[in-house]
């Protein structure tokens, strides 16, 4: 589905990403993890086409990303950016309807089919009761659900998420990730997400990419990446790895120390 080939990015002298290559299989969830400032968001922005890489290329189903028109790209791929939706007095329903834009010709208005899709998605994401509300009156969790609804009506094959759970409480973190998971399972969606929370990443992703200083530290299955030696090296912290009592994936436990080691 997605192939990243030798991507590098530098601003003048400063190297942000160097020689990144990996593949994401169709219908899987691919997590990008790593410490602050290692270029996770930059990598996601390059995959989304928002910024151009200094070298290397992105292939989307055997087609080069740079050759796909903006509108066509939006039919293939939806993105939930870190900045999210603005505080802007636009109704929830109108905002979600904007997700239909890439499917409409310039002379076309939103039709019956578009309205049905919006209705169905609002139902699925539980925002039907918010339809008249304005974006600037929503809570963080509601806003994120609206953003997911807008991405869903876009009907992409690939979804990119940049830290979708930041600023959310644990309940809403789960709600958002489970929505994405369900969508992935039902529609065969491919997901690429930048995650800060290693424990959630290991529960929701099939594959992980660990970035360090702009390069790949490790890429592979959850068990290969969430592993004591690798994480200690990258995060400069010694975590305990235990097994999740219910779904058996590795989880990271931090130990508070009296002194800084």
């Amino acid at each position: 589905m997605l192939t990243v080939q030798n991507i590098s990015k530098h601003y003048k002298e400063q190297v942000v990403l160097k020689n990144i290559s990996f593949q994401v299989k169709e219908g899987t969830c691919f997590g990008i993890i790593g410490p602050n400032g290692v270029g996770k968001s930059t990598l996601l922005k390059i995959i989304s086409g928002l910024i151009e890489p200094s070298s290397g290329k992105i292939m989307l189903r055997n087609k080069e990303l740079a050759s796909i028109s903006q509108k066509k790209l939006a039919r293939e791929m939806a993105v939930l950016s870190q900045s999210g939706l603005p505080t802007y007095p636009l109704s929830v329903e109108d905002t979600i309807m904007m997700g239909r834009y890439p499917h409409l010709h310039w002379y076309e208005r939103e039709g019956k089919k578009d309205k049905e899709i919006v209705e169905r998605v609002m139902e699925q994401t539980g925002v039907t009761s918010l339809r008249e509300k304005l974006l600037d009156t929503l809570s963080g969790g509601e806003r994120q659900r609206v953003a997911i609804a807008k991405a869903m009506v876009q009907q992409p094959k690939l979804l990119l998420l940049d830290e979708p759970t930041t600023y959310l409480d644990i309940h809403h973190q789960l709600v958002v990730l489970q929505l994405v998971k369900k969508w992935q399972k039902e529609a065969g969606l491919t997901v690429v997400m930048v995650m800060h929370d290693l424990n959630l990443a290991s529960q929701f992703c099939d594959q992980l990419l660990l970035l360090n200083n702009g390069g790949i530290e490790k890429v592979g299955s959850i068990e290969e990446v969430i592993e004591k030696d690798t994480l200690s090296k990258v995060y400069e912290t010694v975590p305990e790895i235990i097994e999740h009592p219910i779904n058996k994936v590795p989880q990271v436990l931090l130990t508070a120390l009296d002194e800084l080691s």
Binding site: L50, Q70, A74, Y88, M98
Partner: protein, 336 residues
Amino acid sequence: MPLLLAILLVTVLVSVSVGSANIDLKTVFLILLSKIPLIGDRMDETWKASTETIVWNIRMPRIVLAILVGAALALAGAIYQGVLRNPLADPFILGVSSGSALGAALVMLFGIEILLFGKWTLPVVAFLSGLLTLFIVYVLAKVNRRMQMETLILAGVVVQAFISSMLSLIMALADEKMQSILYWMMGSLALTDWSYNGVILPIVLIASVIAVLLAREINILGLGEETAHYSGVSVKKIRIVLLIVASLLTGAAVSVSGTIGFVGLVIPHIIRLAFGSDYRLILPLSVIGGAIFLVSADTIARTILEPRELPIGVITAILGAPFFGYLLRKRKSNYF
């Protein structure tokens, strides 16, 4: 929409009827009706020829010009506000009007008429100098690749102050032409005949069509540059097209009527307050609202101190500047 159109029609009729010679509404209506092909052919003239001259050759050209200029300025304001995501943007406040005025004043001072353009020289030069001004303001306002609303307004003020001094310089140099340049700078729809309308009409028509076709994109731009990009909008392309269209409208308006301020600020705001923030409604309604506003303002300008006539820019500023202050106080966030 039909309601606003009806208000516009009534405003026009009233505006034609009042003036140094009052003409009753019924006569005005009949004369205007007689000018419509097919219907007019079957009508009998029950009025004096001099009355018809006043209505058709003196008052109507001016009122139609007020409609077109008002529509152009309000539409330009609505586009600037949408594209720059800045509720205080307006051709006058951004300095585009002054930039156009400087270009036009230079043309008037030297009496240049570029052969290629003929009677289009003034609007073309006004458009280009307005666009250049917008570019300068934009570059000044962009700090660290981001644009704060306040910075944009400040940049507009700075550029406008500079341009004003240039305009003063031109007036100081142009002794005998000073009166006419000054009057025109304050904004006026006097000294109009039908030919002025021929220059601005096609621009307003084409710009309105383009703007309405791109209204959905303006709506999506409201979600922010990044989100708009992910939604499938070619942000850079659309933004450039729209900024050019708005500057073209401003240039056309300035070249026929001088700098008339605040129309582009006040009208889209009132429309937004009444009808919400969907640009598919805001744009066409601003066109009609701008027309109503300027026809009314011009009627006041030419009748309130009869027989003297006030510059229309004075009227719009007296109404618009306090409204600007009110908006500054009222806004809560960086958006609308």
